[in-house]
């Protein structure tokens, strides 16, 4: 039986993870690609034997892209359909599931074929896992981001056979489509790319209180983040929020000042290589996820760190 993988593009990391995830779910991997410029280059390394390229779908229209996958499901009868755990991966697979009236498990960390298939999936933005059974066919899943590492195969096929097709998309499937791309409004070091994130919580006390965090972030070439308590109070914009409903980050070091460590906050920063927490409450739960702790008032400690950096640099 084949397994069909929705590939956003062959060089997209989450799609490569989905291809890796799919390997155990069938004995032949097929890829579904969308758009005039889509091609199978690079997919052989991921053990893809056939690439189905849907033409006429250049603009992103989730229901139309799903229709293309539904046609492939009808034509190739795969055991499973796998998507990347990205915004588009989850969205397209949800449309596929709705059209086929089959169950879908989003953001799986593992899946095992069987009757019924079993899987483990992410809840609460990664703070909790769920073991589940999926009663439907084909098995519809998306691969949770970074649950598996993208791996190429050693004895990869030399070429991928590519077949074009033009799905019969209805008008209704094209109503919701991207009509325009507006530019980004970003300035400075972005939260997702920063090596250092200096983040503040309710303990910062006010919008003005963030100046000491901004100073430290600037000295370290980093970005400023915050908790939801801060955005709800209107001290910082939501674009600065780290967490389950904010941004997910993976810096070299995360410096959390005046943040208690709620699971929904930690869901956004658990990718950090190191975590330093500054908090006067020695029992704060953030210390259970921290590598380093400084106990005390951030308004005294953060300026002292900045002063020490300046001293080290001038000396």
């Amino acid at each position: 039986m084949t397994v069909l993988v929705f590939v956003e593009s062959p060089d997209d990391e989450l799609s490569q993870q989905a291809l890796t995830f799919a390997r155990g779910l069938g004995d032949e991997v097929h890829a579904a690609l969308m758009g005039e410029h889509a091609g199978p280059d690079g997919l052989a390394a991921y053990d893809v034997s056939v690439a189905h390229v849907a033409r006429g779908l250049d603009v992103y229209a989730p229901a139309a892209w799903a229709q293309a996958i539904v046609e492939l499901v009808e034509r190739t009868a795969p055991a499973a359909v796998v998507g990347p755990g990205s915004d588009r991966g989850n969205e397209v697979l949800a449309h596929v599931a709705a059209k086929l009236d089959q169950p879908l498990a989003a953001n799986c960390t593992s899946a095992t074929p069987g009757d019924p298939p079993t899987l483990t999936r992410v809840r609460w933005g990664g703070s909790l896992l769920e073991e589940a059974r999926l009663h439907g066919a084909p098995m519809l899943v998306t691969a949770a981001p970074h649950a598996v590492t993208a791996e190429t195969v050693a004895n990869a096929p030399v070429t991928v056979s590519a077949t074009d097709f033009t799905p019969a998309v209805s008008e209704a499937d094209l109503v919701a489509r991207v009509s325009e791309r507006a530019g980004a409004v970003a300035a400075g070091v972005s939260l997702t790319d920063a090596d250092v994130v200096v983040s503040g919580g309710r303990g910062v006390g006010s919008a003005a209180g963030f100046s000491v965090l901004e100073e430290l972030a600037e000295l370290l070439g980093g970005a400023v983040g915050c908790s939801r308590a801060v955005t709800s109070a209107g001290w910082r914009p939501h674009t600065d929020q780290v967490g389950q409903t904010g941004t997910k980050i993976a810096p070299e070091i995360y410096i959390a000042c005046g943040i208690s460590g709620a699971t929904q906050h930690m869901a956004g920063c658990k990718g950090a290589k190191k975590l330093l927490a500054i908090n006067p409450d020695g029992d704060a739960s953030i210390f259970a996820s921290a590598d380093y702790a400084v106990i005390g008032d951030l308004h005294e400690i953060v300026p002292a760190i900045s002063a020490e950096i300046r001293k080290a640099r001038s000396g």
Partner: protein, 251 residues
């Protein structure tokens, strides 16, 4: 215009999740309850749309009797009325949830022009209930909306993507899923809370079909409970912090 927003009652876990003995739920003995921040923004947007264009805002939930608390919370910030689909408290899978919501929407006297959802539920994060509802009702669906404006009979939606914002313009009625950051929800006032007590809640009890995405048990992810190295207390810890930053090559 009529705007309906769907919300889900979830436990407000603090720094640590504790499971019940049968490992099928979060132990809520010491916890309060809330809804997803995405859904709060959906409710705020519904209130603003009705303030600007007239009509009625409705909040809908499928949940236990206690979920009336979340319906009253949303009516306290300005939602006009509520629809409560009473569940037995057990887990409803996304297909069953969507089917119950579709039946309830079809039973409404006045069809909503906009049906708002959270981008994903706080607890289950299935990323699909809204899309299934849209499909069943034959309506267009835009997800992850972080900016929206009503333009005549259409709604213009902006969605954040890695290199900018994607714009969608869809005719109403439409289904939208929204993300936190769309707006800054207001807090309830005391008079708002009093008014909410008198607002109407239409209750019904749908029957739960067998789950097709069947939760078997919950598991806490590995790797929790580190032992932090205490670098010091107060500003005297600064040199030790610099030591750490130097090790990482940052100073």
């Amino acid at each position: 215009m009529n705007v309906l927003v769907c919300v889900k009652r979830v436990p407000l876990t603090g720094g640590k999740i504790v499971l019940t003995e049968d490992e099928r739920a979060i132990s809520t003995r010491h916890l309060g309850f809330t809804i997803s921040p995405h859904e709060e923004c959906g409710a705020e947007e519904a209130i603003r749309l009705v303030e600007a264009h007239g009509g009625t805002s409705t909040v809908l939930t499928l949940g236990p009797v206690e979920a009336e608390e979340q319906l009253r919370d949303m009516m306290a910030i300005g939602i006009d009325r509520a629809v409560h689909l009473l569940s037995d408290g057990g887990e409803w899978d996304p297909q069953a949830t969507a089917a119950a919501i579709v039946t309830a929407i079809r039973a409404e006297d006045e069809a909503p022009d906009l049906i708002l959802f959270g981008n994903e539920s706080a607890d289950a994060g299935n990323y699909q209930v809204a899309i299934r509802v849209a499909h069943a009702l034959g309506l267009p669906c835009v997800t992850g909306v972080k900016g929206m404006s009503v333009e005549g009979a259409s709604v213009r939606c902006e969605q954040e993507v890695p290199d900018g914002r994607d714009v969608y313009v869809v005719p109403m009625p439409a289904v939208l899923t929204v993300k936190e950051g769309l707006n800054l929800p207001r807090y309830p006032s005391v008079p708002g809370r009093l008014r909410a007590k008198r607002k109407p809640v239409a209750a019904s009890r749908p029957t739960r079909p067998d789950a097709r995405l069947e939760m078997v048990r919950l598991v806490l992810p590995p790797g929790l409970g580190k032992h932090a190295e205490v670098l010091g207390r107060g500003p005297e810890a600064a040199p030790a912090v610099i030591g750490v930053l130097q090790e990482l090559g940052l100073v």
